[in-house]
Amino acid sequence: MFHRILIANRGEIALRIIRAAREMGIETVAIHSTADANSLHVRFADQSLCVGPPSSKESYLNIPAILSAAEVSGADAIHPGYGFLSENAEFAEMVQHSGLGFIGPRPEMIRLMGNKVRAKEAMREAGLPQLPGSDGVVHDERDLARMAAGIGFPVILKAAAGGGGRGMKIVREKDQLVQMYRTASAESLAAFGNGDMYIERYVERPRHIEIQIVADERGNIVHFGERECSVQRRHQKMLEESPSPALNEKLRERMGRVAVEAMRKVRYNNLGTIEFLLDERGDFYFMEMNTRIQVEHPVTESVTGIDLVREQIRLAAGEELGRTQKSISMKGHAIECRINAEDPVTFAPSPGLITAYHAPGGLGVRVDSGAYEQYRVLPFYDSMVAKLIVMADSRPAAIMRMRRALEEYIVEGIKTNIPFHKSLLVYEPFVQGRYDTRLVEKLLAENPG
């Protein structure tokens, strides 16, 4: 087992890792920028080292400084947290070449999953279903009709040169296909100087479901169920829950099984998360894989009762998984709200001094945060100031508990998205569990401000 871990991160996740390490009897080394000298992760670590100025590039992304800090502090492993260097394969390699343990998967796994095209190919070979579509550009109209028939309607035509929603056409009926293809291609040629089109299955109401994978170095792999992450704004997750209201036992078992099988084929190790897109018919498609601890890992911890960061450290040190799929059971329901320092209406960042702070408590309530009264939310880093997680016997009880906890949460001096979460927790489509990735957009359109 490791003796001393350096945490190459800041904020709540650095604190989270310190907590797991302390409970394992492992010493911790915090690194920080000059701006973070008064952070809780610096205060609670056994030792701390300033590695650079506020800019992330010169501190939390400064590989030579971090490796030097590991050396002078006598650390024997590095935990990268999430963000920053957590999915940087070169960093993972350099850590290992320095004779230190990297708490994460092998560098080649990080590299494979970091390349979205290669990751999709590898996962297709490993048996994960993918959104049906043309592998390349549609060549002619006959080609198009054949492909569309294979994919099934509705389909979406995407301009090869497009992006950000431009140059896209949804085709619901076979009769419209050729006409809409001609229009889209001509529009794309006019707008981008390129008329090439792709065709893909169109998912009307997609949900974002991810499966938590836990694997040891000897090929033992299990999954810890799913997380529902469809509550997003501009691809930024705002609330996560487990289990997903969209999955039944059969679908959960199937998604988990194919995920584990694919991971076995690529010989994945340590923790990872496979993101799927789930359509309204219950078909699911591989989107991407994250090779690190996720922000929303506490909802899985709440329903499984297992400390995921502890697992991550233990497995990186070479310990055996010691669990079978049958031994993992999910109980109750957990919800996490990401509390961000931002305007609840405009979503503009709101850094500044927290002048009053009271975190909610009571049964089934967990707050992971680096915030405290007189803490300054810095403009240099992510705007997330806390994660509020609740756990209860059922989804309705968890919703009631989250509403209660949000009422108790006091953060003054800065603006937060707590009012947004309060309106979300009473929004009927959310309460009913009938929602998809467009939920936030719909809510904001119906209740502006």
Binding site: L49, C50, V51, G52, P64, A65, S68
Partner: protein
């Protein structure tokens, strides 16, 4: 003027808009300036010592070339004290000499020239020589030989030669 009287005068000024007060009593003259202290004239009392904020040192990637050390004022030192510190440009290990057997680059009391090597900060197995950016007399070596140092940590205290 006794200390209690001085304290009373300063207390009376707290929270007011007064920025300067000149008090003449017999042979004694008291000149109090609040806010930003100017260079000290004789018999000046700084009612509110303004702590010099420790600013971030200039980040320098580890390299074998000598690195000019960032020089800055120490925190909370009265303006009359012209001493300055030389801070570590990165996290690493502090060495006072080129090898365990060689003499220290500098000794306390010694006057150093601009560009003179003061110490080595080792980072990632690279020995980085830290040079004086301005001349001065070494007052104090603040770090023990062989100790880890942080980014921006004060290594030496100098006074103008």
């Amino acid at each position: 003027m006794d200390v209690d009287k001085l304290k009373a005068i300063l207390a009376a000024l707290q929270g007011t808009d007064v920025t300067r007060l000149t008090w003449v009593e017999g042979q004694e003259t008291l000149d109090v300036r609040l806010g930003h202290p100017p260079p000290p004239p004789p018999a000046t009392v700084h009612a509110v010592p303004v702590a010099a904020q420790v600013t971030a040192a200039i980040p320098t990637p580890p390299s074998v070339a000598p690195v000019p050390a960032p020089v800055e004022a120490p925190p909370a030192r009265p303006a009359a004290d012209k001493s300055f510190t030389v801070n570590s440009p990165f996290v690493g290990t502090f060495y006072r000499s080129a090898s365990p057997d060689s003499p220290s680059f500098v000794e306390e009391g010694q006057v150093v020239k601009k560009g003179q090597v003061l110490c080595i900060v080792e980072a990632m197995k690279l020995m980085n020589e830290i040079e004086a950016e301005q001349p001065g007399r070494l007052v104090e070596v603040l770090i023990q030989n062989g100790s880890p140092v942080e980014y921006g940590e004060a290594l030496f205290r100098f006074e103008p030669a």
